[in-house]
Symmetry: C2
Subunit: 202 residues, 2 copies
DNA sequence: CAATATCTGTACCGATAGGTATGGTAGAGG
DNA sequence: CCTCTACCATACCTATCGGTACAGATATTG
């Protein structure tokens, strides 16, 4: 329906930028979670009236999914890049450090949208909770595959299972997100990363 | 006002047990979080009408605080006990294992109330969020003090700072809570614990 | 220019949120 | 026994929730 934004379309043109709006909405969801972010919060942050939001993105759930998508392709894209590091240890190092930085970047809310977006919620938000759970599982699976490759390259000790390592690293990532959501700052998270790295089995 | 429950009081006696009610409410808050748990959810789970709930516990916020208190003194009391283990390693081991078990106990919701009770939320729930944040910080501080004692007993390597170790262990605990909230089961969490223990600096 | 298509702003919708007034009810004190 | 007190149940309150109808505004199309 409203696919293109460069080709001239008929009718009154949209008075705001879709991606900017999505960024604003993202920040609200990030800070307050899916349930805690009201439509009034969102419209106020975006600077657009309610019907315009609905026309552009659909209902609240659709808006969240689009914001999540933008989160994954924007702030959280470091995960993809980190997996391209040459060694398993370098992957982990970069992953943890980038996460620590993202979770505590001053210009956006503390923590991680995939964790605090909808960790426990009412029935109405349950599909969002499931989506975020799936998202986290997908990230973990990507790590596991990367570690499987590392294993095949002799880059991992024989007593370390890729799936276990991936789950462990994911656990540290989620834990850091909780810490950051509670206001723990970057330097402290860096020391967590240091501890995690120091104790790595490779 | 309604302090005692054993001394016979005047008037019609309460038709439900305060602690049982609190347990039921706790489960709802645990599963849905503070915001996601509606009064209707709570009254339905407790099996009591709304005014009775208000008379017994005060408003929703007060009810949550009482449920949290019960959580800390009940299911989460393992934390206190674990700190009494003789060595730092034993403390950590017991803490992580007990947390893994509590987070995945079949008879209650997955995860940890202190984490998913209100990690990110709207303004109305912010005081609860702060309380939970403070709760987590308190637990972390207790660990830190325990590790300081360990250090003074020569039970910790010289290059390990008690505060850093405590924060790291707390991070793993929170991460496990997120995993469990997403449905990860006990055996997988046990492998996370195994990884964490294997890589411990002592 | 008109005709048409899309967006904006106001004002509103029903449903539900948390919270409470009120009148009936059950037990203790006298 | 009656009274007094506290609790129970229904029914209701206001505020806000997510979502939308409608009319005016602004652009392209012909």
């Amino acid at each position: 329906m409203e696919r293109n934004k460069s080709p001239k379309r008929m009718g009154r043109p949209r008075s705001f930028d879709i991606d900017r709006a999505l960024d604003r909405a993202l920040v609200v969801f990030w800070r307050k979670g899916y349930e805690g972010a009201s439509l009034s919060d969102l419209t106020k942050a975006v600077g657009v009236n309610r019907p315009s939001l609905y026309a552009a993105f659909g209902d609240k759930e659709a808006l969240f999914r689009k914001a999540l998508d933008r989160y994954l392709k924007g702030p959280a894209a470091y995960t993809q890049e980190a997996l391209r590091e040459p060694t398993a240890r370098a992957v982990v190092e970069r992953l943890l450090l980038a996460a620590a930085d993202l979770n505590t970047a001053r210009r956006n809310p503390g923590g991680c949208l995939m964790v605090q977006g909808a960790l426990a919620c009412g029935d109405a938000a349950d599909s969002i909770r499931q989506e975020l759970t799936a998202c986290r599982a997908a990230g973990e699976a990507a790590m596991r595959r990367r570690f499987e490759r590392a294993k095949s390259e002799g880059d991992l000790p024989p007593n370390v299972k890729p799936a276990d390592l991936a789950r462990y690293i994911a656990t540290v990532l989620y834990g850091m997100a909780v810490q950051a959501a509670g206001g723990v700052g970057r330097s402290k998270l860096h020391r967590v990363v240091e501890m995690a790295l120091r104790t790595l089995p490779m």
